[in-house]
Amino acid sequence: MAAMDDMEDDADRQQHALKRPLRVLDIWALGVGVVITGEYFGWNLALKDNGPIAVLIASLVVCVLYLTWVLALSELSVAMPFAGGPLAYGRRAVDPSLGFVMGWSMFLECQFATIATALATGGYIAFLLNPAAPSPIVQVVAALATVGLFCALQIWGVKEQSLVMVVMTYGAILGLVIFWGLAATNFSWDRIWVQPLLPTAKGWQAVLDAIPYCLWWLVIIETVALAAEEAHEPQRTIPRGLIGAQLTLIVLVVLTWLFACGAVDDSQRLAVEADGTEISYPLAKVLGTIPIGRSPWAVYTFGIVAIFGMIASYHGMIYGTSRQAFALGRAGYLPAFLGNVHSSRRTPVAALVVCSLITAGFVVANLWFRQAIALAVLVSTLTALVWYILAIGCLYVLRKREPQLFGKYRAPLERTLPLTVLVLAAVGIYVYSRIDVKIIPLTTLLYALGLCYYWFCAHPRIQAEAPEEVSARQSTAEQVGQSC
């Protein structure tokens, strides 16, 4: 009878298990590919009223934050290589409530990043079809097509989509190289080193105001941590892949900022149109402004390759969103059907379909709500900062309570690194209170909805067999054993 129970348990675990095919190059491609959309749009909104030097300093602050964050995250994700990364960290360090808050934060971060990227992909396609007056209808239809196509591709299989991700990431980098080359034809240092360097009215406040939008350069790279459950030898592949991806991205950030701001006379025009509409295709806008952009082949060559960048990121983001929904569903924190995987392909079909439907709903809503992209960017970055701070708290707790957990990989600069992440992320949250778009009430509402579901529906139904729960119970058992 016990043997039969064991067999049933094994079958159940098998039903919720993912494959482990990802290696260093796959992790690098996932890290670069998922974030590269940040180079194509979103960051440009930071230029509004702040200027290029403020954006450069804010971008460097963000690069330091993310470099230290990915190293600290590698330590956590190697110690607990589960698809529900933040859920597992919070669950093991404190209790299921913190696990849920962290998992929900990352779900919101990924979901809103996915929405913004789908819309911006549609924006680039609409610009390509009619550079003079991009149609909002074409933007929405193109965004919906992207959502449908990549939902199907992700359902197809993780190894197959990882190969596609590598190819698209190379395409996205090529798109940026083409942009740098074209923008360089109209580059001038005088447009970068403007006088005064920071706006007189704002001074150093301009740098702080730029930070929330500059976070978009690199936000969501932590999706890679969710791949630890699908990574071959995660203690080796995750740190190497993440560090490589982060360094590649820092180079891309600096060069894209430099050539975009150095090629146009007024960098403000990359943030908003003359009528006040926010721009979701800044690099295409740069090319449309400079003399070489009058050549259709230049605009179309860049535009077509740029779409690779957008869809590479969309592809990685829907991966992160669906894996987080899958992990929360598998552990019982969200409806259980989200935790099922396809019987032969081992991909989380239900989670993919639900996340894609939510994205499609917001894409359609963009027809009536024109600030959708800025809103999605800011909600995504704010929820990201919330869980970075909580994750560093978990790292401190677990290092002290269970040092053996980090035997396979320990980040360098052991004490200063988490402290830096903590301070920079806290500063990031502080500056949200000063920006134009008031997203704090919306974000608070999203957390309230999640917590209500957790307390009234999910709390009694947490699945004891989920890997995150098994890991947390092992921790508790070890502590009880030690105290006895």
């Binding site: 690069c63 330091v64 600069l413 690194l417």
Partner: protein, 88 residues
């Protein structure tokens, strides 16, 4: 004669990590520069609220110092992280 697998001194446990000498030198410098980044950011927030206090000779010098500290932090942390990965 003992075969390698029978050697009682042989073990499958991983060797304890020994940082390379270069890393031993770079780690404290990297940590110090990260603390400087935190100080710079605190100064920025202070200056944003009280623009007339704690200022250097010119805005250009302030910008160059802040950018220098941030770039130094990025370079040092990257080098330390890469050496750390290679040591393993």
């Amino acid at each position: 004669m003992l075969k390698p697998l029978d050697n009682p001194h042989a073990t499958n446990a991983p060797e304890p990590e020994r940082p390379a000498p270069r890393r031993l030198l770079l780690e404290p410098i990297g940590a110090a520069v990260l603390l400087l980044v935190v100080l710079c950011l605190s100064w920025m927030i202070f200056t944003a609220h009280a623009p007339g206090l704690m200022r250097l000779a010119s805005l250009e010098i302030e910008v160059m110092i802040v950018v220098g500290v941030l770039v130094a932090a990025l370079v040092l942390v990257s080098v330390v992280a890469l050496l750390h990965t290679r040591d393993r």
